[in-house]
C-alpha cells in the first residue's frame, strides 16, 4: 500500500479501538460495479420498491423530482432493483469505465 492510499495515515487509535458511527460512507463501493442500473424516468412511478430492496442504500428519490435515481458511489450493481421494479423502468447495463 502506498502512503497516499491510506486514508487513516493520521489516525489515533482510541482506547479499545472504539469507532465512530456512520463512518463506512467513506468506502465508495460503487467501484465494485460491473453493471449499472439506469432508469427510464418516464416509466418510473416512484413506488420506491428499488429503494426498499436495495442492500446498499443506493436507490433513492431524486431531489425535487417524481422519480428515483441511483447513488453510484455505493451501488454495487447487484441488479435486485431491476428485478423488483413493477414497471420495468430499471435496466442493468454493462458499465464502461
Amino acid at each position: 500500500m502506498s502512503q497516499s492510499d491510506d486514508p487513516y495515515e493520521n489516525l489515533t487509535i482510541t482506547t479499545g479501538a472504539v469507532v465512530e458511527p456512520n463512518t463506512s460512507r467513506v468506502n465508495k463501493t460503487g467501484s465494485w460495479r460491473q453493471f449499472k442500473p439506469v432508469i427510464d424516468i418516464d416509466a418510473c412511478i416512484a413506488c420506491g420498491q428499488c429503494d426498499t430492496y436495495c442492500p446498499d442504500q443506493a436507490a433513492k428519490p431524486v431531489e425535487g423530482e417524481d422519480y428515483y435515481g441511483f447513488d453510484l458511489d455505493y451501488c454495487k450493481g447487484c441488479g435486485i432493483c431491476e428485478e423488483v421494479c413493477p414497471t420495468d423502468a430499471i435496466e442493468m447495463i454493462r458499465e464502461v469505465k
Binding site: V19, E20, N22, R25, D56, L72, C78, M92
Partner: protein, 318 residues
C-alpha cells in the same frame, strides 16, 4: 430510453434519509442479510443497542476504523451475542433503578436491545448463550438471520442448511447427496423456552418483517425472530435474484412465515397453490447435483415430504 443512459448519474441529486445501516458496508452485491440489517435498524430506530455475533454482517460492517452502524453497536465474539445483550440489559436495569438520570433517552423502557447473529452463530455455536438469555427472561430481541450455512468462512454446513445442499463441508459426491439433515426448528425451540413472542419472516416481505421487529420491541422480555436471508455467493445464483428466491422459499413452504405467542401459533402467512420445492431447488447451484440421478430425486422427495409435514402442522396451505 435515451442514448445517453451510459452517462446517467443521479449520485449528487438523490435524497438519503436517516440511515442507521449505512452504505459503504462490504457485503457482497445482492446480500440478503444486508437487507435484514437495513430493515432491523429502520424498524428499531436510533434508541437502540445492537449486539452482534462474529459473522458476515459483523465483518462487512465494522472494519476498524469504519462502521456502518448508526446505532450503539458492540461485537464481541462468535458465540455470545445473546449473553452480551443480556449483560447490556442487566446494566441498564441497574442504571434505571439506581441512577435514573444515567440514560439521556427518556427511560429504560424505550431502549431497544437487539442481538443479531447468523444461523451458525445462533443455532449452533451460540446456542447456549441464546438458551440462557431466553430462559432467564432478559428484555432482548434476538434476530437470527438465516443464510443456511457458515458463509463468512466459505459456505460450510450449519444446522440451518437444508437437506440436499452441497456445501464445503457437506459436498455432493459419489457417496454423498450433500447435507443429510433438515433445518433445525429454532422457532419452536425458542417458544419452548417460554419466549412470549417468536416469529419468522423473510427479507422478501420487509413490511411484514419490520412489523414483527416493532411488535417484538414493544414486548418486555425475550423475543426471537428468524429472518430468511438468501446468500448469492453461498447458494450460487445471480445476485439480482435474492428477493425472488427468498419469496420462492416462502411460496414453496421451505421457509414458512408465522408467529407464535406464548407457545401457540397465532398467525400463519397462508399460501394458496403451494409450489413444489423442486422449483426453488432448480434456481441454485448448491442443489444442481440433485437433478443428476435417482438419489437426487429421492432427496428432493424427502425434502418435499418434510415440507409437507411442516405445512400440515402449521396449517400453511390456504
Amino acid at each position: 430510453m435515451s442514448s445517453d443512459r451510459q452517462d446517467q448519474d443521479f449520485t449528487d441529486e438523490v435524497e438519503h434519509g436517516e440511515e442507521l445501516w449505512n452504505p459503504g458496508h462490504r457485503a457482497c452485491a445482492g446480500c440478503g442479510p444486508a437487507l435484514a440489517m437495513k430493515y432491523i435498524t429502520e424498524a428499531a430506530g436510533p434508541n437502540t443497542i445492537v449486539t452482534n455475533a462474529t459473522g458476515c454482517m459483523e465483518v462487512v460492517s465494522t472494519p476498524f476504523p469504519e462502521s456502518s452502524w448508526g446505532t450503539s453497536y458492540i461485537h464481541n465474539i462468535f458465540e455470545n451475542a445473546a449473553s452480551v445483550a443480556a449483560g447490556v440489559e442487566a446494566a441498564y436495569q441497574s442504571f434505571d433503578r439506581r441512577d435514573p438520570d444515567h440514560l439521556d433517552v427518556s427511560d429504560e423502557d424505550d431502549l431497544n436491545i437487539i442481538a443479531i447473529g447468523g444461523d451458525g452463530a445462533t443455532a449452533d455455536i451460540g446456542f447456549r448463550a441464546l438458551s440462557g438469555m431466553m430462559e432467564r427472561g432478559h428484555d432482548v430481541t434476538y434476530v437470527m438471520y438465516d443464510n443456511e450455512a457458515y458463509m463468512n468462512t466459505g459456505v460450510q454446513r450449519s444446522s440451518q442448511t437444508p437437506l440436499g445442499a452441497s456445501t464445503t463441508t457437506s459436498p455432493a459426491g459419489t457417496e454423498s447427496i450433500g447435507n443429510d439433515t433438515n433445518k433445525k426448528d429454532m422457532a419452536s425451540i425458542a417458544a419452548d423456552h417460554g419466549v412470549e413472542y417468536v416469529a419468522t419472516a423473510s427479507i422478501s416481505n420487509p413490511h411484514d418483517f419490520k412489523q414483527k421487529v416493532e411488535k417484538a420491541l414493544e414486548i418486555d422480555g425475550p423475543k426471537f425472530l428468524h429472518v430468511y436471508s438468501p446468500c448469492p455467493v453461498g447458494w450460487s445464483y445471480e445476485s439480482s435474484k435474492t428477493v425472488e428466491l427468498a419469496e420462492l422459499a416462502v411460496e414453496t413452504g421451505l421457509f414458512p412465515v408465522f408467529e407464535m405467542e406464548n407457545g401457540e401459533i397465532t398467525s400463519v402467512n397462508k399460501i394458496s397453490d403451494r409450489k413444489p420445492v423442486r422449483e426453488w431447488l432448480e434456481t441454485q447451484g448448491r442443489f444442481k447435483h440433485l437433478f443428476d440421478g435417482e438419489e437426487g430425486e429421492e432427496t428432493i422427495e424427502a425434502l418435499q415430504e418434510w415440507i409437507d409435514g411442516r405445512a400440515e402442522d402449521l396449517g400453511l396451505d390456504a
